[in-house]
Amino acid sequence: MTTTNQTISQSTGQTTDWNALDTETFRQTVRTFFEQNYPAEMRYPKTRLRWAEIKDWYMTLSKKGWIAPSWPQVHGGMGLSPEKLIVFIEEQERWGVGRAPDMGITMIGPLLIQYGSEEQQQKYLPKIIQGENIWCQGYSEPNAGSDLASLRTDAVEDGDDFIINGQKTWTTLAQDATHIFLLARTDKTVKKQEGISFLLADFTTPGITVRPIRNIAGHEEFCEVFFENVRVPKANLVGGLNQGWGIAKALLGFERIFLGSPKQSQYALSRVEEAAHALGLFGDQGFVDRYTQLQLDVADLSALYVRFVEQVKRGEKLGPDVSMLKVWAAETFSRLANLLVEITGGSGAVAGDIEVNGKKIDVLTSFYNARPATIYGGSSEIQRNILAASVLQLRS
């Protein structure tokens, strides 16, 4: 333990205080690094990249110390302020940098930093940073979607272990993962939310089967994960027994802020902009009006995003109001995807790229990516239910 701490503090001793840089210098630093190091052929990937494809880039960022921009430096992150984080994301988007399987960076990492034991932090966080462990999230089940708390995968105590049985589904990139964090029922006698625990499992544990599911875009981005008498040590319990729902809700906060980032919308906006230039639409006032409206929807999304990120940085808990960020982010993205299909007119149904005035336009990827955006992480309808009940005090 002491050794690890020393290593960490030694490495932090060498890290840069990014927040001390002025915004332009920081932007240029990030931009130059992306331009010089991110592989040109992988810019603007159409689908989620698989681990085999993006591994080298993940390791490049890891060695540079940039793999976890939002984590505190003491845990190997860059410790970026919200403003700097936004710049980092903007530059990623500008250069079309692909998203790695990043559940470790964006979800379980921040969660362990907040709720994990010191042992869990030391066991898992460095391996996320180093790209040794790839995480996936096991929440949804065939009969527990919007009503997540009704989940039935159970974990029964047995000596120093839990024995897990059940099935998870819509598990993104589970086929590339080495670990899963999951919600399992540990008490069937109490109210459904009060009998759930938050567990970690290594995919090498016997009894786990992963089966990819093909989506309508033809890609295998999510999976089913089956658990058959899977034995995990009690040390893999995060937080207390039966405290999983509260922790999951906190993680949903992290998730909603992550899913609420302007990233996807900024990406879609630049695709629309590119297509509109190729199609000569910037001379069309009807188009320009709609484009500008969406451009401002994205700009104001960024303002809303910064406000919630600030709250996190101050160490305050995210309230149920963060749901509005997820709704606005996903629905703005969806409106942009619609516009792309609309402006390509008769080519709006072509699978693969179309070529207009020498410029390749990918019409349908944004359309397809926008479909799950309003479903996963709590559908737009569920988010509105949460906002109505918990923020507006409108009770059903």
Partner: protein, 387 residues
């Protein structure tokens, strides 16, 4: 409003000012006062203006060098918001932000000194006469048809301006005029020979004016700025007024949403509060989202206006973003609040209408949402082209 970017001490001061302004406004300006003044001769109450001066609010934004209190936009927003929540009809943003700032940004020492001192004292209510288009989305910010031209007997001001607030009982105008190929800013007292003020009734019971200048003779001492200096001063004041109008629109949005939520929680139909129905809940949430988008972009804009590290382009783009979001969201809240109330929301007796009608006025004033989206598009295109 969210003020995360400010230091704690300033945040505390602003919070305290907001509380005392709200206490004052609730007591001194109940909704019955706003209701009673609708359609009156000037549409507002000059004696209430005196109370604003007593509070020190007529000089809040004006630098100490000009006898004001030298506070920032964060502080001014607290006052503006409190008065807007009570639908107070006094022309606070037109006179104390738009006109005052235009005067402050110019360099005519004597006139500046004299006008600002009178404004601080609550004795002078000025307006800005800048807009030449009566209707439509093509709005030229700088004067084109109103001209300040030399004649044998001196400089003469000719032409007509529209949408000037306040539209009655305004003591004088800062007039934008074309002079040669550039812009000039003039101070023209309302009672000057050749000035004709035609009041136009507005939806909220206040008024705006179309002001004709029929060969008004101008003295050099009335000139506030010329050329680039005039353009810079006007544009800056205009952008500041846009943001502060956004503050008013946000206050109206919040008031309308609160009223609507209260109604949804208490109005019973089919044996339950109507707010228990999911169809209505989701519509209410969409209003919340628009309100919070307005609030988020506004808090960034206020920090930008109070800070020193933005340039003119950034301020203009941000101000247009604010006005576009705040106007659209204001009108959405207005329409949806009526719908969620049902017929009662459409009655004159119910207070919702006061907010709805003020939102209509402020959404249209200084350029509506669509006009500001176009301005934003032009600004950002110009910016991209110049990089």
């Amino acid at each position: 409003m969210n003020s995360d970017y400010l230091d704690t001490e300033r945040q505390d001061n602003i919070r305290m000012l907001a509380e005392s302004a709200q206490t004052f406004a609730t007591k001194a300006s109940p909704l019955t006062r706003a209701r009673g003044l609708r359609g009156s001769a000037s549409g507002f109450d000059r004696s209430f203006w005196g109370k604003l001066a007593e509070q020190g609010w007529t000089g809040l934004l004006i630098p100490e060098a000009f006898a004001g209190y030298g506070q920032g936009f964060g502080e001014m927003a607290a006052v503006v918001s409190a008065l807007a929540t009570q639908v107070a009809p006094e022309p606070v943003v037109p006179a104390l932000v738009f006109a005052s700032r235009a005067i402050e940004h110019t360099g005519n020492g004597d006139l500046q000194q004299q006008l600002l001192a009178s404004i601080v004292a609550g004795e002078l209510i000025p307006g800005v006469a800048w807009q030449e288009e009566l209707a439509g989305l093509q709005v030229n910010l700088l004067a084109s048809a109103v001209v300040a031209a030399p004649t044998n007997s001196g400089i003469q001001l000719t032409g007509e301006k529209h949408h000037v607030r306040p539209g009655a009982d305004c003591d004088g105008f800062i007039v934008t005029a074309k002079q040669g190929n550039g812009l000039s800013l003039w101070w023209v007292p309302a009672n000057a020979t050749g000035v004709k003020v035609q009041s136009v009734a507005l939806a909220d019971g206040t008024s705006e004016a179309s002001v004709r200048f029929d060969g008004v003779m101008l003295d050099g001492s009335q000139c506030l700025a010329q050329g680039d200096a005039a353009t810079v001063a006007f544009t800056r004041a205009y952008d500041e007024a846009l943001v502060m109008t956004g503050v008013e629109l946000l206050a109206l949005q919040q008031a309308m949403l609160n009223m609507t939520l209260e109604y949804l929680r208490t109005r019973v139909q089919f044996g339950k509060p109507i707010g228990s129905f999911q169809a209505l809940q989701h519509r209410a949430v969409d209003l919340l989202i628009q309100q919070e988008l307005t609030s988020s972009v506004l808090s960034q804009a206020l920090v930008m206006l109070d800070g020193a590290d933005s340039n003119a382009f950034e301020r203009s783009a941000m101000a247009s973003r604010v006005k576009a979001r705040a106007s659209d969201a204001g009108l959405l809240l207005a329409r949806e609040s009526i719908q969620l109330h049902g017929a009662i929301g459409f009655t004159d007796e119910y207070d919702l209408g006061l907010y709805v009608q003020r939102a209509l006025v402020l959404s249209a004033w200084l350029g509506n949402a669509q006009m500001h989206r176009r301005r934003y598009a032009n600004l950002t295109q110009m910016n991209t082209a110049s990089v």
